[in-house]
């Protein structure tokens, strides 16, 4: 850019003035960094300091380099409009991470000088981002699913003033909740089953002027991005309506696990063995008749009921559901109480291996005990139903260690089966792949959203069919921006939890439409205006960006080029890290903006005994941990040169080869944990980085370099003491293997 004008400022506050030769740093910025204006200030973040910078900006400075504290501090003070700002972290990561002793002064100053060089190099390559003019502005919210989750989300969004479209597959609202006799108590004293209130809720939805309900309908095509989704809503009768919405809440609920897969418990062999859903049906039918529940097989009076917990759940053998559905212990207690209400003399026994009654369920458990429900820790082996309709339950009593324990003369057996999420198609399984039973995985799955996204028609799943969300930090998020999963499709849950979930998802949907309307990113870079673009002429149509984007943001245009949908993009840069020809970039973050920082530093020669180690640190966890290490007074090697990256996924291999080629002695990468218990803020970024790095050995071999020249580490944000240790360990390792032979080329 012809009229680039850099202003570089060095702060003397917070001890910087005493520990560093700030004058020398401004000279580095001027001579090597080619800064047009350089200034020192005794407290750069105070109003005079800021005014000084602003004055220069008014007079033509359009790139600002601030040599002061971490970019994570004083963000409001150093917030200048329409100029690119590069923050040079002299405080946390230079003076606070180095010993204050006089002997350390030289190395500390060298470190600070390199940081200034890097800041100036970055400033040259970035511009202040402006929002994509094509962002969508539709603020309507689509809710898919009319059960308690969907109805709550709709009501909450409507109450906040947003227009809602609610699509329900069935002919009535209510979903599974409408099939319940009563619900687990959600109010003090948590002692008795409570009315579901489903009719009132459905009426509220139907009467709300802001909510439009589509019954007997499904979403048959969903395209677009936050703020500009286009959705086909198809009625059972055949008619299709296309609607535009800004965000989507997917509340598609669950299906009870198929109890016919449990013949050992007598399901399907006798009417007197039911699942929890079956018992609700009995209770509702009896209540409608105003009569007590009777034995389904012969209408006899019920005197004894046994509940089998974890039926087909928490199964380690791999035959049934592996997980716990969370609500079923409370549900069985609730159902046992139906019988105690009917007649306190009915014997009700709950056979469990672990009773799990989270939250206020403890009070409910006590209440069930008080009512005389018998709890027995045991594992049921078999349920036999005799010709007279009475069942015998064989189980292993785990407290009395009685393997042949039995309950006989049981009139009704209730199986606590689990929740299977209605999450549609698992897009990570190729449609023709077969599972163990030889069933084609894609065959029986029916898509919920029918997304036209290139990565597949539904939102990605984490485990067991539940949709992926960032469990630690952003539970309501999915890997499709602007689409929020809520309720048992996200994780197993009961009504109270689903209500909470739905409220959270409604709020996220509102945020999404508001952000989209301003062209801003959703979390974790919320508010970010930058978005990826690619240089069409350079693209080889390799599709790597399209495939690797954790959020499915990239489609394909008619000419088979990648088509970025900035509204769906989280600005992680994973596509940028993936692109083999390096044509993807952001206005303020690019292969070049980081690459030139790497090349800007001064690499002393082989005999100086001053190695240089590049540290590419994830800005979400590793970089804050480095800052905190400085704040907490941990010192670490003065040979480290850190560059914050948006995500390890954004690391392009060229940075590493370039660093090694230009004489760095080692490269460290610090990112979040990957795998099943990932903590990566961009879900797949650190995983992809790990995968890409697994191939680095070949590169190192080609360069004739040792394996240890590159090290990838996982750190959490709390690893404040560990991060300096990791750095020092690595510095020691580099000392051990010796200096890089690539210096001075």
């Amino acid at each position: 850019m012809a009229d680039m004008k850099i202003g570089a400022y060095v702060c003397q506050g917070c001890g910087l003035g005493e520990r560093l030769d700030t004058k020398a740093l401004t000279l580095v910025a001027q001579k090597e960094g080619k800064a047009h204006v350089v200034r020192e200030h005794e407290f750069l973040c105070n109003s005079q300091g800021v005014a000084m910078i602003q004055k220069d900006i008014d007079e033509g400075v359009n790139r600002v380099v601030i040599g002061a504290c971490s970019r994570r501090a004083k963000a409001e003070a150093f917030n200048f409009e329409n100029v690119a700002v590069s923050r040079v972290n002299l405080r946390e990561q230079v003076i606070w991470s180095q010993p204050a002793a006089e002997e350390a002064r030289e190395l500390t100053q060298e470190m600070a000088a390199d940081y200034m060089r890097m800041g100036c190099a970055e400033a040259k390559k970035i511009v202040a981002p402006t929002p994509n003019p094509e962002h969508g502005t539709n603020k309507r919210i689509l809710v898919v699913g009319g059960g308690v989750t969907g109805m709550t989300a709709a009501l909450e969004a409507a109450r906040a003033g947003y227009e809602v479209l609610l699509v329900e597959k069935a002919g009535t609202l209510g979903g599974y909740m409408a099939k319940l006799h009563k619900r687990i108590p959600y109010r003090e004293p948590f002692a008795d089953p409570q009315a579901t209130g489903v009719e009132a809720m459905a009426a509220a939805v139907t009467q709300d002027p802001r909510i439009t309900v589509f019954l007997n309908s499904t979403t048959t095509r969903t395209s677009g991005a936050p703020g500009r989704f286009s959705v086909d809503i198809t009625a059972e009768s055949g008619g299709t309506k296309t609607e535009n919405v800004g965000a989507i809440v997917m509340a598609s609920g669950f299906t009870p696990y198929d109890a016919t897969k449990l013949p050992e418990f007598g399901y399907g062999k006798s009417q007197n063995v039911v699942d929890q859903a079956g018992l609700e049906a009995l209770a509702r039918a009896a209540a409608a008749r105003g009569e007590p529940m009777r034995r389904p097989s012969d209408g006899k009076e019920i005197k004894s009921v046994v509940f089998v917990q974890c039926a087909g759940q928490r199964d380690a053998t791999g035959t049934h559901l592996k997980y716990c559905s969370g609500h079923c212990c409370n549900t069985s207690m609730k159902q046992a109480m139906y019988f105690k209400e009917q007649n306190p003399d009915i014997d009700t026994a709950i056979i469990y291996t672990d009773l799990r009654t989270p939250g206020n369920g403890e009070d409910f458990y006590r209440s069930a005990q008080r009512k005389g429900v018998i709890f027995t820790k045991g594992k049921v082996a078999q349920v036999e139903v005799g010709g007279n309709g009475s069942a015998t339950v064989h189980f292993h009593d785990l407290i009395l260690d009685d393997k042949a324990a039995t309950m006989s003369g049981v009139d009704l057996v209730v199986l606590a089966t689990g929740q299977v999420p209605n999450s549609g198609v698992n897009i990570d399984i190729p449609p023709d792949a077969q599972d163990i039973d030889g069933v084609k995985a894609g065959e029986h799955a029916v898509s919920v959203l029918n997304l036209t996204y290139r990565q597949g028609p539904d939102i990605p799943q984490l485990k067991y069919g539940f949709t992926d969300s960032h469990f630690i930090c952003f539970p309501y998020e999915t890997r499709r921006t602007g689409i929020y999963a809520a309720g048992p499709v996200r994780r197993p849950m009961d009504i109270a939890q689903a209500v909470e979930d739905a409220t959270g998802a409604a709020l996220k949907a509102i945020q999404a439409v508001e952000n989209a309307g301003l062209g801003r990113a959703a979390h974790p870079r919320s508010g970010d205006l930058s978005f990826p673009t690619f240089r069409r002429e350079g693209c080889t149509q390799c599709k790597r960006c399209t495939v690797e984007c954790p959020f499915g943001a990239i489609d394909e245009d008619e000419q088979r080029y990648p088509q970025f949908n900035e509204g769906r993009c989280r600005r992680c840069g994973t596509c940028m890290g993936a692109c083999p020809v390096r044509v993807i970039s952001f206005e303020n973050y690019s292969v070049d903006s980081v690459g030139s920082q790497i090349k800007a530093i001064d690499v002393p020669d082989e005999f100086s005994e001053k190695p240089r180690i590049l540290l590419l640190a994830c800005e979400n966890d590793a970089y804050p941990a480095l800052d905190m290490a400085g704040v907490s007074g941990h010192t670490s090697s003065a040979f480290i040169r850190p560059v914050p990256v948006r995500c390890l996924g954004s690391v392009n291999m060229i940075w590493i080869t370039d660093a090694l080629n230009s004489g760095y002695d080692g490269v460290m990468l610090m990112g979040c944990r990957h795998g099943d218990e990932y903590q990566c803020h961009f879900v797949k970024g650190s995983e992809l980085a790990n995968y890409r790095m697994s191939k680095i050995d070949d590169t190192l071999k080609n360069l004739n370099l040792e394996k240890d020249r590159v090290r990838l580490l996982e750190v959490a944000i709390a690893a404040i003491a560990r991060v300096p240790e990791l750095i020092n360990d690595y510095a020691a390792k580099i000392q051990e293997i010796g200096m890089s032979p690539f210096k001075g080329f």
Binding site: D347, Q369, G372, I374, F375, K377, I399, L400, D402, T406
Partner: protein, 207 residues
């Protein structure tokens, strides 16, 4: 009394639990146990019990009537109250143990030769006879309850404590001949008889 004694408790039904609730001191708490095992782990004698408290509670719920009532286990309780202090469900475990022992005894199901039961009986008779414990008679009775030879050996082992008690006048050496009962012996006997009647009525032992 006979029909309770022979009533067949059905497995994992509420019959025996209800019987315990009606007849055992603090028995209504048994259903509230959540089987955490803290009591068994806290009991200093736990490892010596055949069925520690947690298990006893489960056995009651499982309807193992005979096994529970004939057990030596609850007779092991020394009333240290460790379990009560720690039980997260606040069951008065100690009291239930004594209640069960007492109920089993009254049903005639308690193990005949259980030493705790025998001593408890001895103590009760000794105390109620005069309204005040006759130390010498009680200790001699205890030491010699299993015969003359063991009695001599036990008395010899305890001789130092015995002499110490004599010296501090905690033991009347002439108790056999001149034990001083309490003043209103008849009144005490009347009171005990009345208490017994009330309890019998409450627990279903009334004639």
């Amino acid at each position: 009394m006979g029909d309770i004694n022979t009533a067949m408790a059905e497995q994992y039904r509420n019959n025996f639990l209800k019987e315990v609730e009606a007849n055992v001191e603090e028995g209504q708490w048994v259903k509230m146990c959540m089987q955490c095992g803290v009591c068994s782990g806290s009991c200093p004698l736990g490892p010596a019990w055949e069925h520690p408290p947690q298990e006893i509670f489960m056995m009651i719920r499982a309807g193992r009537r005979e096994e529970v009532l004939k057990s030596e286990s609850m007779w092991m309780c020394t009333s240290c109250y460790n379990c009560i202090v720690r039980c997260p469900r606040e069951l008065p475990i100690t009291h239930i143990m004594h209640g069960l022992a007492n109920y089993a005894h009254r049903l005639g199901l308690a193990p005949k030769m259980n030493p705790t039961r025998r001593f408890a009986k001895m103590f009760w008779n000794n105390l109620t006879k005069s309204g005040r414990v006759n130390e010498i008679e009680l200790s001699v009775g205890l030491y010699f309850m299993d015969g003359f030879k063991t009695g001599i050996a036990r008395a010899w082992a305890m001789k130092d404590i015995g002499l110490g008690m004599l010296k501090t006048r905690r033991l009347n050496p002439f108790g056999f001949v001149s034990h001083k009962g309490c003043k209103d012996k008849k009144g005490i006997h009347r009171m005990l008889k009345k208490a017994r009647e009330i309890e019998d009525r409450r627990k279903g032992f009334a004639a």
